[in-house]
């Protein structure tokens, strides 16, 4: 399946979705077995909410690649043991490149900004999709000034002035806080920040709002210029929250909030659940995924990421007291 069939926004999303579903049913035995258990049958047209979402840990426990395809790229999530890490086999790099660029350039431009990337923690992971994505983006800057920042060093006035235009500082949330702690210089006027992986931390946990305030104060950048990216090794697409905490989706992605006690059902706006994602760019692996992230949707169809889903129905004499007091 080619990139243009996925990204052509003149074709209604549902039409592209059903083509991808058919492809998955034909070529992905893991997803086929999953979907068949729910009675999904080939040849019928389905709405996004009717499509069963495969738990994302399948990327840890199975090989998700369409039959007959070969992995051109391979990404691995961070983690300690090999069993704890997801592996995403990417059969068509062009789809990934297109997905990265199209959504990034919907929000940002190299005409106005230079991209600086700061990614401690990810740098050690040879298979990091974030590093790959940022490389792809820095290389797309015709000025050649976009780059990765050296780890463990503050941002200096000189380095920030060098490009001659505002900076788009893109980095792992807690790495950006490190930069502040290193006494980095404030960002030039008009600069913007994109934080990602806000919940992954080797430091104390922090709410998104606290994080945004800290970044805004630390880099002397208005809070409306602090953005977030939501992406993961298992997804070839990314979502951005511009100037706030609400993420919008690319045209080829559908995000829904699913009930944890029955992921076949959608939560109402304002109701918390597990984040479900249909990412058509994942056509060669698995596009229909239920994440382990907790989220909520607003009336406009934007979503917020609230952290990891905590299992509240654990067995045992305990775990109940929380609801008793």
């Amino acid at each position: 399946m080619k990139a243009e069939q996925l990204f052509d926004s003149t074709v209604p999303f549902e039409e592209r979705l059903n083509r991808v579903l058919q492809f998955q049913m034909d070529r992905n035995p893991v997803y086929r077995r999953f979907a068949e258990t729910f009675g999904i049958s080939p040849g019928r047209n389905y709405k996004p909410k009717e499509i069963p979402l495969l738990p994302i840990q399948a990327f840890k426990e199975a090989s998700l690649i369409a039959e007959g395809a070969e992995a051109r790229l391979q990404f691995r999530s961070s983690g300690t043991g090999s069993m704890d890490r997801s592996t995403h086999h990417v059969a068509d790099a062009e789809i990934y490149h297109r997905s990265i660029r199209d959504e990034f350039f919907r929000h940002f431009s190299f005409k106005t900004h230079t991209l600086f990337c700061y990614t401690p923690g990810y740098a050690e992971n040879k298979g990091s999709s974030l590093i790959y994505m940022l490389k792809e983006l820095t290389e797309a800057d015709p000025s050649g000034l976009s780059r990765f920042l050296p780890l463990g060093k503050p941002l200096t006035q000189e380095s920030l002035k060098e490009p001659g235009k505002p900076i788009l500082l893109f980095g792992a949330a807690f790495g950006l806080l490190d930069l502040i702690d290193f006494d980095s210089a404030p960002l030039p006027e008009g600069s913007e920040i994109v934080e990602t992986g806000g919940m992954k931390t080797h430091r104390r946990s922090m709410s998104k709002n606290e994080l945004r305030i800290k970044l805004s104060e630390g880099f002397e950048t208005p809070i409306f210029n602090i953005h977030s990216e939501y992406g993961m090794c298992e997804l070839l697409s990314q979502c951005y929250a511009i100037g706030g905490e609400w993420f919008s989706t690319p045209d080829w992605v559908d995000v829904s909030i699913r009930r944890a006690d029955n992921p076949s059902e959608l939560c109402m706006p304002g109701e918390e659940g597990k984040i479900g994602i249909i990412d058509l760019a994942n056509v060669w692996s698995c596009p229909f995924l239920l994440t382990g992230d907790r989220g909520v949707m607003n009336e406009r169809g934007e979503f917020r990421v609230l952290g990891r889903w905590n299992r509240s129905d654990l067995r045992g004499c305990n775990f109940l007291i929380d609801s008793e007091l």
Binding site: A58, P263, S264, R311, R315, C317, N318, F319, E324, L325
Partner: protein, 355 residues
């Protein structure tokens, strides 16, 4: 034993309350069943077990094991927050507190508001009247800081619960807290004889598998695939007599579909799922099955030590895996009155921590 002894008086009180002609207990059971809180067979099972285990000799043995000094905590008040996913959870705490001479202050679970309350009512109408108070609403408990707090909760909730109790003046910053956080048990079996299988089924499926002493992982010398049919027959036999009261939500079916997708061996029993896996048990209504012998069992016990309540075997009785003693599989749902939730003897803990 002297009739003046606290042990004698408490065991008499318990046995008297458990008499079949106790009308108020009968009504409490009926109401609990009527409210859909627990299945009658599970309540009867628990009552029968208490009748057998809360005897004078057993209380004496508990007293000896724990180094009980009767009435040593007279004048102290212990607050117990009960979580009620099985009937009469907290009974042991009540006895432990009373034996030390302390006052019991109980926040009863909204899921088990009648039966335990009936026993406490009985106590209130006895010589223990001044030493017992309880409510299902924490706001109705005496607004004075307790000298110790017992509760069950998740690791995440410990700090929050403590903070809330301090805020509502039910405890102080320095009040000793006993937090129990274990939530599953592991069993080892070395044969598939009828007795072993029946013991295993009881250990897994009683109370819908929701007790912390319930077996959530079994290590057996045969694979789930080879044993699936026989095991399922035993489960059916158990469910005929003890229909499962609590039903899983639909996410369990998603788990079944997921296992099917990734090719994991499993047995789908509609209200329960058995899967071949050595992952840490977490979710309710799931039994993890792992093919292996004694070494595999010990290795999994060590791997999943955090959150583990008890370990059982049909053959390795009283052996140890590090700090855990292997208990007979047949006692999983019938622990002796001196059993130590989360490895802590309540009497000993109170005597050591409260002065």
């Amino acid at each position: 034993m002297s009739e003046n002894s606290l042990i004698y008086r408490i065991s008499e009180k318990v046995q008297e309350w458990l008499q079949p002609d106790n009308q108020s207990l009968k009504e409490a059971i009926e109401r609990t069943v009527r409210d859909g809180l627990f299945a009658e067979h599970d309540i009867r099972f628990q009552i029968r077990h208490l009748k057998e285990s809360v005897t004078q000799p057993n209380l004496q043995q508990w007293a000896k094991k724990s180094g009980l000094k009767e009435n040593s905590l007279s004048g102290q008040r212990v607050l117990a927050l009960h979580a009620g996913n099985l009937p009469l959870v907290g009974f042991q705490d009540i006895l432990g507190v009373l034996l030390t001479g302390a006052t019991y202050s109980g926040k009863l679970s909204r899921k088990d508001p009648w039966i335990l309350a009936d026993f406490l009512n009985d106590l209130k109408n006895s010589e223990f009247s001044e030493r017992v108070n309880y409510s299902t609403d924490p706001d109705e408990l005496p607004k004075q800081p307790a000298d110790a707090v017992l509760f069950a909760g998740s690791t995440d909730s410990v700090y929050e619960v403590r903070a809330r109790l301090i805020k509502s003046r039910l405890a102080e910053v320095g009040t000793p807290f006993l937090a129990r956080m274990a939530h599953f048990s592991i069993a080892h079996i070395d044969n598939h004889d009828a007795d072993t299988m029946r013991d295993l089924i009881e250990a897994v499926f009683r109370y819908g598998g929701s007790g912390c002493r319930s077996v959530a992982m079994v290590v057996a010398p045969f694979s789930l695939r080879s044993e699936k049919c026989t095991f399922t027959d035993y489960v059916e036999e158990f469910w005929l007599k003890n229909p499962q009261h609590n039903k899983p939500d639909k996410s369990l079916f998603h788990r079944y579909a997921y296992n099917r997708a990734i090719g994991r061996e499993q047995a789908w029993l509609d209200d329960f799922l058995i899967e071949e896996s050595s992952k840490k048990p977490g979710d309710q209504f799931v039994l993890h099955w792992k093919k292996g012998g004694v070494e595999e069992f010990k290795s999994l016990v060590r791997k999943h030590r955090n959150g583990l309540q008890a370990i059982y075997s049909n053959s390795l009785i009283a052996e140890r895996v590090d700090d855990l003693v292997i208990e007979p599989l047949s006692t999983a749902q019938k622990p002796p009155i001196w059993w130590k939730p989360d490895g802590t003897d309540i009497i000993k803990w109170l005597q050591d921590r409260v002065s």
